[in-house]
């Protein structure tokens, strides 16, 4: 049974256990008491954005709704504003749990493919770890062209005014496209990150094995 097709029994603990083992801060999920303060505190928490707000996602995890949780686009709506964290009466690190669940869904390949924030998140990470520093122009272009060339041009046009404004204010450098900011020790950074991934993977695998 591959990770993607694992079936969680309803209202049993196995999906919760999976989350605890594989998701950053996942062992906090069970501490939720369903007060809903996180859901009410979320700035993007209008129904269309959040199909399932945080506290509901937690209940779904407890209820073993694995497929629905991991394929949901809900946690990708997190803006990292930390409102939920500071208000949670149980001190759940909700922002991190949302990121963690998203990361896990992404790792399993179950996250919605064209979820824009998922795409941007990956793009950002690749962009910044590539040279050690963010290349804002490439990042933007990468985002606009995620849905293909035509859509990219359209997106770019929509953002034209913004870009021109930034260019004029010297806050966007067109030459970033051909290099731009970077760290000197790129080799060291790559080696370091590679090692970090290795360690993390081995730890997660070990947990999965029990």
């Amino acid at each position: 049974m591959s990770a993607n097709t694992a079936v969680a029994e309803k209202y049993r603990n196995n999906f919760l256990k999976e989350i605890e083992e594989q998701v950053e801060m996942g062992d906090w999920v069970k501490m939720c008491m369903q007060c809903g303060v996180c859901s009410g505190s979320c700035p993007t928490n209008f129904q269309s954005a959040w199909e399932h707000p945080p506290q509901e996602l937690f209940m779904m995890i407890l209820a073993g709704k694995r497929e629905e949780v991991l394929t949901s686009s809900s946690m990708w709506n997190c803006t990292s504003c930390y409102n939920c964290i500071v208000r949670c009466p149980r001190k759940l690190p909700i922002t991190h749990i949302m990121h963690g669940i998203a990361e896990y869904a992404h790792r399993l390949g179950m996250a919605p493919k064209m979820q824009p924030t998922r795409f941007f998140s990956g793009l950002f990470w690749k962009n910044c770890t590539h040279t050690g520093r963010v290349n804002e122009l490439k990042l933007s272009l990468g985002l606009y062209f995620k849905d293909g060339f035509v859509q990219g041009v359209k997106n770019g046009m929509a953002m034209q005014a913004v870009a021109i404004g930034l260019l004029k204010a010297r806050r966007l450098n067109p030459f970033e496209l051909f290099g731009g900011h970077k760290c000197k020790d790129q080799t060291g950074i790559q080696a370091m990150l590679k090692k970090a991934y290795e360690i993390e993977r081995s730890r997660k695998t070990a947990k999965m094995a029990g």
Binding site: Q34, C35, G40, S41, N45, Q47, R87, P89
Partner: protein, 427 residues
């Protein structure tokens, strides 16, 4: 009431609220000498500031009257008001308490005629009304005040007003030279019945208490409803004096919250359920209550009361911890959050928001020997290491009145056991 001399067979009761009075009276009515110490100028404590009790909706002063009558008729209780225990030394069966007694500036000649009050101009905040109103600086703390004797606020001392008060008194009852005193009292056992204080609502930042005038606490709401309160029993909101008919009650304001109080304060759900009754009582036509809650804790026989309120169409229950409160252009507090039963987002304006604030034990900063054993919330635990210092009422746990009285009665027995042993040894 009398002035017996305290000995090792005396029981010291700290706190003159319902728990302390109960402990003192139960011990005295079993034949023990008691010294009862109250920090306020009058007995009664926090329950005497309530409009009604749940679940019978009767008035707390009704029980207070009986307790005061018991006290007036009992020579075994010696009462010290305006007095605070600052330290206790010794061990089981042999304690010495140091008690700071603040000046009342009024002696026992006072007949409570009220001439001094009429004579003075100065006004000060009235703590009996949680400072929602002011009273004269020469005042009787409340209509039921016992001792039935006036008090001068320290702020008046040294002013011309103070002299006016003195001049107005025909009975030589006003003594402006009264000084703070420190006295020592012997006791064989000590009952701590210092009660609770409402959690500081300003610390619950998202609710804007202190920023928004129309966000008040549950204890303040009791005073708004009370017939002798600052509004004469009308529920008027603080910002503009408008009738507050659409009222939100927010549960767990501080309680069950690791950012604030870890424990559940037990009484707040019932208190809010009770307070919805006030809304209905004052505005039978169009009063409306909304209770935002996590779990309604109407424990044991109180469940009946909950069911009655549930059946009331003017009361709406929303399972949700309110995320934050804002204020709209009309000064209405607006509750924001999500109803977790089926995920419904709300942004609801109310005339008034009442925060059901939690209970904090009033035992902090008191010098008790041998380091009193308390739980993580500061409530005194029953522990042999506490010697003959016994917690009673809300100093020992988050309790409703019924349970506080039980606790105080039990504490009285524990104290009697100690002084009986002393008596036996001394015989």
């Amino acid at each position: 009431m009398t002035e017996h001399v305290a000995t090792n067979e005396t029981i010291l009761v700290v706190g003159g609220g319902i728990s302390g009075m109960t402990a003192a009276l139960e011990a005295a009515e079993t034949g023990k000498n008691v010294v009862l110490v109250e920090k306020n100028p009058a007995l009664g404590g926090r329950t005497s500031q309530l409009y009604r009790y749940f679940p019978k909706l009767c008035h707390p002063t009704c029980g207070l009257e009986i307790n005061l009558r018991r006290l007036k008729g009992n020579p075994r209780v010696r009462l010290l008001t305006l007095a605070e225990v600052t330290g206790i030394e010794g061990s089981t069966g042999n304690y010495t308490a140091t008690i700071k007694v603040r000046p009342r500036y009024v002696n026992e000649n006072c007949t409570a005629c009220g001439d001094c009050e009429r004579a003075v101009e100065m006004k000060v905040d009235d703590p009996f009304n949680y400072n929602l109103s002011q009273h004269k600086a020469a005042y009787l703390p409340n209509a039921m005040a016992y001792p039935q004797r006036y008090v001068l606020d320290p702020a008046i001392i040294g002013t011309a007003d103070a002299e006016k008060a003195k001049a107005a008194c025909k009975y030589g009852a006003i003594d402006l030279d009264m000084q703070e005193e420190t006295i020592q009292v012997k006791a064989g056992a000590v009952i701590w019945a210092t009660g609770w204080q409402p959690y500081d609502a300003a610390k619950i930042q998202p609710y804007g208490y202190g920023r928004f005038k129309n966000v008040i606490t549950s204890v303040e709401f009791e005073r708004l409803a009370a017939l002798q309160g600052p509004t004469g029993g009308k529920i008027l909101r603080p910002s503009d004096g408008k009738e507050a008919k659409n009222i939100a009650f927010i549960q767990c304001a501080g309680s069950r919250d690791e950012n604030h109080l870890r424990h559940c304060s037990r009484i707040c759900c019932m208190a809010s359920l009770k307070q919805t009754h006030y809304v209905r009582e004052k505005y039978p036509e169009d009063g409306k209550s909304t209770i935002y809650y996590i779990d309604i804790r109407a424990i044991d026989r109180f469940e009946d009361f909950y069911q009655k309120v549930q059946a009331d169409p003017s009361v709406n229950f929303i399972k949700s911890k309110v995320a934050k409160i804002t204020e709209d252009e009309h000064g209405n507090p607006v509750c924001h959050g999500v109803d977790t039963e089926g995920y419904k987002r709300y942004t609801t304006p109310h005339d008034l928001v009442v925060l059901a604030v939690g209970m904090e034990p009033s035992v902090k900063g008191i010098n008790i020997p041998g380091h009193i054993v308390a739980d993580s919330s500061g409530f005194i635990e029953a522990d042999p290491a506490n010697g003959a210092v016994f917690g009673a009422g809300c100093a020992s746990n988050a309790l409703d009145v019924n349970r506080a009285v039980q606790s105080a009665t039990a504490a009285a027995l524990r104290a009697i056991q100690v002084v009986n042993k002393v008596a036996k040894a001394e015989a």
